[in-house]
């Protein structure tokens, strides 16, 4: 019996050592440890042994079984690892080859800047209102305190369609349109983005460009509120370190009127080429709504006040992206647009 067991163990060892694939290994397992396997049969035949022999052989058989199982397990591990290595080699990819191109398109830089500005004012409770690009002289000029032959009209050379109609030269007509539609309800708090047109074409002027108008009308709106609102905007748009300064200026539809400068984003206000050495960059126009404008739009200037502001989107985009020719926005050169 003992001899048979030793032989069996040797035989198993040899077979396991020679086997090269997992299926064959499994067959070996079945031959020795399966239901009708040689070791299984030996265990089953123990009952035929005497009571004295049984514990001795029982122990030895269990040892044989355990050793067979270990042998098979180890070989299985060995074989699978060998096979996997082969498979992995076969399935290898060069991870440095380029990925599938998923070319995302991009927004036009003007759209990006417009949306950024809009978002800031939306957070502040402003509603977006859009209006016509072909506008009546009344809304573009007259209602804004610029009657026919007013010298301020010279500041905005216009494209006319007929004596009463033109391409709007600014987004300010929307101030009047919005107030007319809403009066006497309070508060008014809108921004109005859009295309505007002026008869100008050079490095800093484009016959078509974009503006964003802002208007807030309510009881007790002050010039200080305007300054605060703009300061908040500028810090959101250009960073916490930016400062603003207001300079008196003149737009017929506001009084007091101001030009708003920000501390130069290029030199931080020390003075450089970008800001012409002044440390400041002119960025938008603003002021308190002129009583006459409030009045023609349906609000009583004795009861409410308002502030308004308007900014050129291209100007801001040029500063933000360091572009020095406004016309680049409208040639739509893909080699440039792909950068945004």
């Amino acid at each position: 019996m003992q001899e048979g067991m030793d032989k069996l163990e040797l035989q198993l060892k040899e077979e396991v050592g020679n086997v090269q694939d997992l299926d064959e290994l499994n067959n070996i397992r079945i031959r020795y440890l399966g239901k009708k396997g040689e070791i299984t049969l030996l265990i089953r035949n123990m009952s035929k042994l005497s009571a004295e022999e049984r514990p001795v052989f029982g122990k030895k058989l269990n040892e044989l079984k355990a050793s067979a199982e270990t042998m098979l397990k180890l070989r299985k591990k060995e074989l699978s690892s060998k096979l996997s290595t082969k498979r992995w080699e076969k399935e290898r990819v060069d991870v440095t080859l380029p990925g599938k191109p998923f070319n995302l398109g991009r927004r036009h830089p003007i759209t990006l800047v417009l949306q950024e500005i809009e978002d800031i004012f939306i957070y502040m409770g402003f509603i977006i209102a859009e209006g016509p690009e072909v506008e009546l002289d009344y809304y573009n000029f007259e209602a804004l305190n610029m009657p026919r032959h007013h010298p301020a009209r010279d500041m905005q050379d216009s494209f006319y369609i007929n004596s009463k109609m033109l391409l709007r030269t600014h987004t300010s007509p929307m101030e009047v349109r919005v107030m007319e539609a809403q009066a006497p309800e309070l508060p008014v708090r809108i921004i109005s983005p859009g295309k505007v047109y002026r008869r100008d074409d050079d490095v800093t002027h484009s016959p078509m460009f974009h503006q964003i108008e802002g208007l807030a009308v309510d009881k007790g709106i002050t010039f200080a509120d305007l300054k605060g609102t703009l300061l908040f905007f500028i810090k959101e748009m250009f960073g916490k370190d930016r400062d603003i300064r207001l300079r008196p200026s003149y737009f017929p539809f506001v009084e007091p009127g101001a030009e708003v400068d920000i501390s130069c984003i290029s030199c931080d206000g020390k003075g450089c080429r970008v800001c012409g050495g002044t440390g400041w960059l002119e960025i938008l126009g603003a002021g308190m709504s002129h009583p006459r404008v409030l009045e023609v739009s349906g609000y009583d200037p004795e009861k409410v006040t308002g502030f308004a502001f308007g900014m050129g989107v291209e100007r801001i985009a040029m500063l933000k992206y360091g572009i020095d020719d406004i016309r680049l926005f409208y040639t739509n050169d893909l080699r440039l647009l792909r950068n945004y």
Binding site: A224, D225, R247, S249, E302, F329, N332, L337
Partner: protein, 820 residues
């Protein structure tokens, strides 16, 4: 407006150097654009006195001048002959750098040493006139050797102002001096206008009639005689030159000088050329003619106000004088006009005649009517001082529309309400007074009688009288601005609006267009923005028929170029031009879109056009998915169609279908119209080969244009919740053989109709043409998914549907089921 710093200093003390002055002015709303130095001259240019003139031994065209400069007498070789012993002349010492960059050195000229150079005005870069050409002879008395920069009006810092149109007062140096005085608290120094009248009375010599006082509220006249017309003193010429005015002769120079000083234009007529000495201010008669100072003959009409004599117009009021009555060397008597004209009329005339002038620019913004007499006197004073002569007795002052000084009520409380911070009553009054405004506090009872609105007797109310030189101040807020301005905008605190909270939000349109952008960008398209203008020629290039509605576009009256003549009615031409631009720069693969408006005339003249938001798409080149794994595939019709369908499904717009179409600029058989909810929404196709040729495209182009509204009106921004399916589905693949002439879309539609509610999804997965299919036919294979939402569907039910489907397709289209 150019402002020479030292000239300005004659009228007010300025405690700041030029750069600081510029800053203070800018911060007070008078923007200084630049500071330039007028006529920067070398310090080695000095005054030299001619002591002796000797002829040159070797060249009779030269002479040798012995010139005293400082303690030395220098030998200077010179080729000019306008100098004589005793003259003070401009002398460049060795080391002097001339405006042209040349450096003067000791030299030997034809054997004679020359220790410098005598200079002409031209060599010094000064465009002035002299009695005789040649070396610059200095009229100013000074000791020889004095630097020219110390005696001439050169090396002068000139501030260039970018004035806002309301500040007409600052178009004269005196106005600016007032502004500085208001800031510093100083007093201005008004230049003298003292005169001594003599001889005949002006009223015997001249008369003034104003026919339309609204167009000419005031006209004053003085007459002078016996003066000597000559070049102006050197420094007056230089001052004018520093502000961009070329010298003519002393009379005209003085009128320009005083205009710069006071901001008030004026005109000198040759009195003897005025018929009967009459001045008639009137509208021109239709067809009347006038040759203006620039030599141009102008045909006039009654819109134009003229100054006429007894016979004919002699000047365009406020714009330009006439040639016939201009001051010449022969003039012996002058009539000086200091008048006020209607700003609108002057502006209109200047525009019509295309004659913007220093004068018209000032009249357009309004001159100080009350200052006319002072200006008149100042001018004749200065003429007499420079040209001599006598001032005839009296002045004609025809003043039909006397200026009424505006009285404005100012509530102290309102100042704080508008500005948002507290300015004390004392400060308010102080600031207004510094601006030369008269301020009076109203008595309580007076307040009630004059006050409107919320004014109560408890409020401090001021009555403010505005001087005539500040015509920009007319209502209460104007004064509030002045308070804020002089007090300094930097004192305005920073607060945020109080009151009801409002929820900021973009409009639905804006959210939809942003969704468009999101989808199209996700599909790999680059956004472009082009001008709203078009060249109408492009409609021909697009082969639009003569009655195509898109040709009916709005024209601009005054376009900058032909390329910007009309407002676009379609986005296609511009997107094609962008393709072209980029092809020319070797960008061959292009996927573009633009969101923008087109402008559609309503047919009614007074009505604004309809502005319709459109989206245009254009593709050309190869698919972006091409790479080292796939063979290059060109972009095609279906690639673009897929993008448009992504847009439609992404927006969840509902029903849509495509129909073959005949859009003129599209390929005749790759040409489709999109319908959304049965309404036409746009087109898609390949660019017509003929159009392609016109644009010189070497590769195929695919374009689409859709009306944003057609998609947006039914778009779901927040799609509704659809519960997950609870019962299993049944999948069926079917293929039909069908004639090529049948549209796949029709088959698809029929299958959908037959499938009814139980057909959850349908996908066409194969189009096959080949040996197993009869000639002229093709096989369309579909994957169908059936499902019942309430129970498990039975195979038999699907079989019944499928049988019906086969029958219907056969009957309608002769389609035969293929066994797969």
């Amino acid at each position: 407006m150019k402002v020479p710093y030292n000239w300005l200093r004659e009228y007010v003390n300025i405690p700041w150097p030029p750069e600081e002055l510029a800053h203070h002015l800018t911060m007070a709303g008078i923007e200084v654009e630049t500071i330039r130095t007028f006529a920067p001259l070398s310090e080695k240019l000095v005054a030299g006195e001619i002591k002796e003139l000797l002829s040159h031994p070797k060249d009779k065209n030269l002479q040798i001048a012995k010139v005293l400069a400082g303690n030395e007498i220098l030998n200077i070789v010179c080729g000019a002959w306008n100098i004589k012993k005793g003259d003070l002349v401009a002398l460049a010492l060795p080391g002097a750098i001339m405006p042209g960059g040349a450096k003067i050195q000791t030299a030997e000229i034809k054997g004679t040493g020359s220790q410098g150079m005598l200079c002409s005005a031209g060599e010094l870069g000064l465009d002035i006139i002299q009695e005789e050409e040649g070396i610059l002879i200095l009229g100013e008395k000074c000791s020889p050797g004095t630097r020219l920069i110390d005696i001439l009006f050169v090396n002068e810092p000139v501030l260039e102002l970018d004035l806002t149109p309301n500040r007409a007062d600052c178009l004269g140096l005196l106005g600016l001096a007032r502004e500085i005085a208001a800031q510093t608290g100083a007093k201005i120094k008004l230049p003298t206008a003292e005169i001594e009248e003599k001889g005949r009375d002006v009223r015997e010599l001249a008369s003034v009639e104003i026919l339309d006082p609204d167009l000419c509220p005031r006209y004053t006249v003085r007459v002078m005689e016996g003066f000597k017309i000559a070049p102006s003193p050197l420094n007056m010429q230089l001052r004018l030159l520093s502000v961009g005015i070329r010298s003519i002769e002393n009379l005209v120079d003085v009128t320009n000088y005083v205009m710069w000083e006071t901001g008030f234009p004026m005109h000198a007529f040759d009195y003897d050329k005025l018929e009967k000495g009459r001045i008639i201010v009137r509208r021109a008669y239709p067809g009347e003619e006038l040759v203006t100072l620039d030599g141009v003959k102008r045909i006039l009409d009654p819109e134009v106000q003229v100054i006429a004599d007894d016979r004919v117009p002699v000047a365009l009021a406020g714009v330009m004088g006439g040639e016939h009555t201009e001051i010449t060397e022969k003039t012996t008597r002058l009539l000086l006009e200091v008048a006020c004209f209607d700003p609108v009329n002057v502006r209109r005339t200047a525009r019509k005649m295309n004659l913007p002038s220093e004068a018209s620019q000032r009249y357009e913004k309004g001159v100080d009517r009350e200052a006319a007499i002072y200006v008149q006197n100042r001018a004749v004073h200065l003429i007499q001082k420079t040209a001599g002569g006598e001032i005839c007795r009296g002045i004609i002052d025809n003043y039909p529309r006397p200026y009424v000084l505006p009285q404005i009520r100012l509530r102290a409380k309102k100042v704080n309400e508008v500005l948002g911070y507290n300015v004390s009553e004392k400060d308010i009054v102080d600031i207004l007074k510094r601006l030369d405004l008269k301020v009076e506090q109203l008595e309580p009872d007076k307040q009630i009688s004059t006050a409107k609105g919320r004014t109560t007797s408890a409020e401090k109310v001021f009555q403010v009288e505005v001087p005539s030189f500040r015509q920009d101040l007319s209502v209460e807020v104007d004064l509030i601005e002045e308070v804020a301005r002089i007090n300094g905008f930097e004192k305005i605190p920073v607060t945020l609006p109080k009151g009801v909270l409002t929820s900021g939000r973009p409009s639905r349109e804006r959210r939809i267009t942003e969704k468009f952008r999101e989808i199209l960008i996700g599909c790999g398209l680059q956004e472009i923005i082009t001008f709203s203008f078009l060249n109408p020629r492009l409609f021909d290039d697009l082969s639009l028929s003569s009655d195509d509605s898109r040709r009916n576009a709005i024209s601009l009256q005054n376009p900058l170029t032909e390329d910007q003549r009309i407002l676009r009615t379609t986005l296609i031409p511009n997107i094609l031009q962008v393709l072209q631009y980029n092809f020319n720069r070797q960008v061959e693969n292009q996927l573009l879109f633009e969101l923008g408006r087109v402008f559609i005339p309503t047919g009614k003249k007074a009505a604004l056009p309809k502005e319709k938001a459109m989206v245009a798409l254009a593709l050309s080149g190869q698919m972006p998915q091409n790479d080292w794994q796939n063979n290059p595939k060109p972009l095609d019709f279906f690639y673009l169609k897929g993008i448009v369908e992504a847009l439609i499904t992404g927006l969840d717009v509902g029903n849509y279908n495509w129909k073959t179409a005949q859009h003129p600029f599209l390929h005749p058989t790759r040409n489709a119209t999109l319908f959304v909810n049965k309404k036409e929404a746009g087109f898609l196709g390949a660019l017509h080969p003929e159009v392609q040729d016109k644009f010189q495209f070497k590769q195929d182009i695919y374009i689409a244009e859709l009306a944003v509204d057609a998609l947006a009106s039914s778009a779901a921004l927040y799609p509704s919740f659809k519960p997950l399916p609870r019962f299993p589905s049944i999948l069926r693949d079917v293929a039909f053989t069908v004639s090529e002439k049948i549209n796949a879309g029709d088959i698809l539609q029929t299958i959908k109709e037959c499938g009814g509610e139980l057909l959850e999804d349908i996908r066409l997965f194969d189009v096959y043409k080949g040996s197993q299919i009869p000639q002229g036919h093709l096989s369309l294979a579909f994957a169908l998914i059936f499902r019942h939402s309430q129970r498990t569907l039975k195979d038999e039910e699907v079989n019944t549907i499928q049988e019906n489907m086969e029958k219907t397709l056969y009957e309608k289209y002769g389609a035969v089921l293929r066994k797969i």
